[in-house]
Symmetry: C2
Subunit: 186 residues, 2 copies
Amino acid sequence: MTTPQRGRPKGQQASKLSSEKIIICAAELLQQQGKVPSLRQVSRALEVDPMALYHYFDNKAALLQALCLQLFTQLYQPSGRDFRLQIQRLCHSYLQLLSDYPGLLETVLSMADSGPAQVFCQRFEQALAPLNLSAAQQEAARDLLVDYLHGFALSMQCNRSGQPLTVAHSSAAINLYLDGLSAPNR
Amino acid sequence: MTTPQRGRPKGQQASKLSSEKIIICAAELLQQQGKVPSLRQVSRALEVDPMALYHYFDNKAALLQALCLQLFTQLYQPSGRDFRLQIQRLCHSYLQLLSDYPGLLETVLSMADSGPAQVFCQRFEQALAPLNLSAAQQEAARDLLVDYLHGFALSMQCNRSGQPLTVAHSSAAINLYLDGLSAPNR
DNA sequence: ATTAAAATTCTACACTGTAGATTTTGTAAT
DNA sequence: ATTACAAAATCTACAGTGTAGAATTTTAAT
């Protein structure tokens, strides 16, 4: 058992910590526990003082935002002509991330600029381009889908009923949505 | 300044507290602060010891559930032939409640049975009856709408961007949704 | 008169995020 | 070399959270 050593560690470039290490550790704990870990839990897992984390992040919210940015680089990148399939995959990927790492919804939603929701919207518009919707229609379609996904993600994470609610349970609603988009409006 | 009096109060039927008083107080604080108050804040406002609340509710979650039940008795009751209008009003009412009393979403979602979401679904199906959808279609339509509303409510409550997101901003998406429902499918 | 239940306060615990000061180490300037 | 300063960490401490458990007072029932 090594007793804690105060002050800057001796290693040259071997600082015990880094923002990457912190993020990875937080992600693991998040996945294991199924909820956002406390800073003390993260620091315990890293064998470090809680306040050390504040050298790398302004506060807990900033840490979670960085974690979100990192996680959502894995979001599915649509590329293909079949817009239905592309949107299905994009939604599935988005929901799977929110399901694997629950408790990030509020962080995601509070990151307006270039956050995960924004990235999703970009890729959504990209996949939807072939439909040639009007700007207003496209905006409404985007809003309906994005908020649906967030609501469904919240529903998964709050679900205490016996039968576990999984990403798969979203497909009927998403197909209905896509039917509505495909249908000639008015 | 009355010093706190320990033990059961003397009044015959005049117990200082009641579950109704607690719920009303919690609702007021929730509306004022825009977020769920702590039990200590509620107890302070009631000029009572925090632990007194536990005589009326098992825990904080139970208090919030009771509060939700009470609040959502105000939910719009659809009655009329125009299903579009009825659903619009129902959605507006649901969102307005979640907007006026923010922070209840997780409570609402964790109350599977006879909770607000359930009440909404009943009234939704009632309003949608004239459309004569198949059971599966109706279920998908319900899921899409309910989760959209929860996602939008969460979005309102997380929104830190300058322009305030209000219930009115949901109408375009809801109209798109209703268009999809009205259109002949396939 | 005795007992029990109801309604309340008190004390205490483990936990949270984080502000502020302190310590140690590495690096750059003189 | 010395001096200064920034970087990286720990320590202490605070105000806040939900809540378990015990003590207290009053009312109701036997």
